[in-house]
């Protein structure tokens, strides 16, 4: 009887749909509201179906598929939801690869749907055919090719489940044109379990106990957190843990904004261009707690000299990250939020006043040797550091800051004082220039009520400059800040420091960015003088619409401190 009812119910829910309609229905079932994409022959049936679903699914037409996928990334990272993008076969699909790779290394949940030539043409080098499944294999969390419409509901359900569960990542679904066109009986069931995939490891008691003992006995404990905290929504637990134990906490680049920069126990940002204290203290602490971070080489420098004196506790969801780069003494394999919740009642209340003071002494040294010079320069032109420092004050650290890649990225990480979670979005693991503008568009669409600021270098801006068209067409209120030094600044800095000032192909003649912005009907202004900064900021920030501010900055400013690539973190250079 029960079985009969069930099968009847299923029949009632069944609809006869084309593959294309089914794809859109699946997206609606997964509560997708926005898709970023670019059409083409092999995905035209889906776009045709989209025409009838406009009231339920918003589609943003970007100007390049790279723009679509970075926008989906920005959307995912600001909203915490899955980012979705569409592209056609061949060049459309291959244009997604940079963004997919970026999402894979920065654990961003994405579902990318690509059109594919009809199934009878597969493998024949047909027009715009490319083996995108083969190409994307090493850079996706999962991928799948659909050749029959019946496969659509299950594949998409799996795609959404895999993209956002456990350590998130990008998934690619490639759908042949015939599968998009044929009809079938559609029903949808969300995916909740795959027998060969266990995204959430069970917390084990023993490591929690050992970690507690180490933490409770530590004289000089020190903590670094990464994006794992943001991904598991453990900001509150992290704060409670730090406050209860009195342990000084530092952030990785992708951890930024998971913990308020103004907190007295926040000691700064660790890594190549991070703060002085968090880097040198790594080699002085006795217990080192890493939470949701993966010991990237930009954080560790030379791993043979990294935290060797300390007992290392690693709280990490992905078992493959444990002992990958740094050998741990205690591995807590689990979700950061769950692990911190479990540890909280076990650890004792403590303070490490003397030890925390040592970090503040480092801050003084850094202030004297590096920060002061950067934020209060004597030069005629402004520096990136001072501009970002002022921006941080102006916005009270409350904006969502998206950065591109280069010196301005490091300056934003150093000088913007993040006050709220999910406020810092950057391409960390891949370091993808061109990421910022589209990602900022996606971030604003994902969080329309927050102020979204895109901080971009003149180089990176020109890699995806065409996405200004999206801002124009959809009235996306992004604030764009171009820090123009007429150089590929970060590369120039390396040339200066490590290649004997041989500035090989890093100086750039730039176009008139104001005219370009105005061509896209975006309000824009350019300033060069310090006296203009305050007023320009006010004008730029006090509009709801998007606006662009180009600031001409000093050409040869350097980002300091710096741990030279592959060097020991305690050998951090202050100037």
């Amino acid at each position: 009887m029960e079985a009969l009812v069930e099968s009847l119910e299923k029949k009632l829910k069944t609809e006869r749909l084309t593959g294309s309609e089914a794809i859109l229905k699946c997206l609606i079932e997964e509560e997708v509201e926005t898709i970023f994409g670019y059409p083409g022959g092999a995905i035209m049936p889906v776009y045709d179906a989209l025409y009838d679903y406009e009231d339920q699914l918003k589609h943003i037409l970007t100007r390049h598929e790279q723009g679509a996928i970075h926008a989906a990334q920005g959307f995912a990272r600001s909203s915490g939801k899955v980012g979705v993008c569409f592209a056609t076969s061949g060049p459309g699909a291959t244009n997604l690869i940079t963004g997919i790779t970026d999402a894979q290394i920065d654990s961003t949940p994405l579902v990318c749907i690509t059109g594919q030539v009809a199934s009878h043409l597969l493998g024949s080098d047909a027009f715009q055919e490319t083996d995108i499944i083969g190409i994307s294999m090493p850079v996706t969390k999962w991928n799948f090719q659909i050749t029959r419409p019946e496969e659509i509901p299950m594949a998409l359900a799996k795609a959404f489940y895999i993209a956002q569960s456990g350590r998130p990542g990008p998934v690619l679904i490639d759908i042949t044109k015939d599968a998009q066109q044929q009809s079938f009986d559609f029903t949808y069931e969300a995916c909740e379990r795959i027998r060969s995939y266990q995204p959430y490891p069970e917390l084990k008691e023993q490591p929690l106990k050992t970690a507690t003992e180490l933490i409770n006995q530590a004289k000089k404990p020190y903590l670094i957190f990464g994006q794992g905290v943001t991904l598991s929504g453990a900001e509150k637990e992290l704060k409670e843990f730090v406050e209860k134990t009195g342990i000084p906490a530092a952030s990785t680049l992708l951890g930024l904004s998971a913990f308020s920069t103004n907190h007295p126990l926040y000691v700064g940002y660790a890594g190549m261009h991070g703060n002085y204290g968090p880097n040198v203290k790594t080699n002085e602490c006795d217990v080192f707690i890493a939470i949701g971070m993966r010991f990237d080489d930009r954080v560790t420098g030379d791993i043979n000299t990294y935290a060797k004196q300390a007992k290392v506790i690693h709280i990490e969801l992905d078992p493959a990250e444990i002992d990958k780069n740094i050998q741990t003494d205690v591995a807590i394999n689990g979700d950061a939020k769950q692990a911190l919740k479990a540890l909280l009642p076990l650890v004792k209340s403590n303070d490490h006043e003397e030890w925390v003071k040592e970090f503040h002494e480092c801050d003084k040294i850094e202030m004297d040797k590096a920060i002061q010079k950067s934020i209060q320069p004597t030069s005629e032109l402004m520096t990136m550091a001072e501009v970002i420092h002022k921006l941080s004050i102006k916005t009270q650290g409350k904006s969502v800051v998206i950065t591109d890649v280069g010196q301005h990225q490091m300056m934003a990480a150093r000088y913007y004082q993040f006050d709220q979670p999910k406020s810092h979005i950057t391409s960390g693991g891949l370091g993808t220039m061109g990421f910022c503008l589209p990602a900022a568009i996606g971030a604003k669409i994902g969080k329309p009520n927050r102020e979204v600021i895109a901080i971009i270098g003149d180089g990176g801006f020109q890699m995806t400059i065409q996405e200004l068209g999206v801002i124009m067409q959809y009235q996306v209120g992004v604030k764009i800040l171009i820090l123009n030094n007429s150089f590929l600044g970060m590369v120039r800095q390396w040339q200066q420091l490590f290649f004997d000032r041989r500035y090989s192909f890093t100086e750039m003649d730039n176009p008139d960015f104001i005219k370009i912005a105005e061509g896209y009907r975006i309000a824009a202004q350019r300033i060069e003088k310090r006296e203009e900064l305050n007023y320009a900021f006010d004008q730029w920030l006090n509009t709801k619409e998007s606006s662009l501010l180009e600031i001409v900055v000093e050409k040869e400013e350097n980002v300091f401190p710096m741990v030279p690539s592959g060097s020991c973190v305690s050998k951090i250079r202050l100037e």
């Binding site: 294999m137 090493p138 969390k141 895999i162 060969s196 266990q198 069970e202 078992p319 493959a320 990958k324």
Partner: protein
């Protein structure tokens, strides 16, 4: 650290494309695969990959963890030589004329525990199962008699542990938990 030959045994869902995903994990780390064998198992829909590779133990332990991350992988394990039973199979083709001229060949084949599996008009095929060293020894022995063709399979291996893979996969199938995992079992 010392490089050695290890065996990786991987249980997977029977899905296309997995071979590629697995080998990428080794090749991007510049680890050479000495042999690879793929086949279905006694459990329907489950395949077993046996990969033999030479590298350091920590390097291969990391590889095994990366393999476990693949969505369609049920389990992945690293074995040293004494933790498994393993065999390879080799086929040797000789001319029938040579074979008939050299009476001693039959004795040699028997001494090596090999057997003749086909006698055709003008050639014979000999089969031997054993370790690579054993099949190689027979190769050396037969070499002076002009081997026409030789082929050796990848390693197939079975672990010495007492666990029952099939039972565990059934458990995975019926369990409601998403933490139960054969990957680390």
């Amino acid at each position: 650290m010392e490089q050695k030959e290890y065996t990786i045994s991987v249980l997977t869902e029977d899905k296309p494309g997995l071979l590629n995903k697995l080998t990428i994990i080794l090749s991007r780390r510049k680890i050479n695969i000495n042999s690879l064998n793929v086949s279905t198992t006694e459990v329907e829909g489950v395949s077993r990959y046996t990969i033999v590779a030479t590298a350091t133990k920590p390097a291969l332990e990391k590889v095994v963890k990366q393999i476990r991350k693949l969505v369609d992988v049920l389990g992945s394990f690293l074995y040293e030589e004494d933790q498994i039973y393993y065999q390879e199979i080799a086929l040797y083709k000789l001319s029938l004329e040579v074979f008939q001229k050299n009476r001693l060949l039959e004795t040699l084949i028997r001494q090596h525990g090999a057997k003749i599996i086909a006698i055709e008009e003008n050639q014979i095929v000999i089969e031997k199962t054993g370790t690579k060293q054993e099949t190689h020894e027979l190769y050396e022995t037969l070499q002076p008699f002009d081997i026409l063709e030789f082929a050796r399979s990848g390693r197939v291996a079975i672990s010495k542990s007492k666990r029952r893979t099939e039972a565990f996969i059934r458990e995975l199938e019926t369990s409601q938990s998403n933490t139960l995992s054969i990957k680390e079992f």
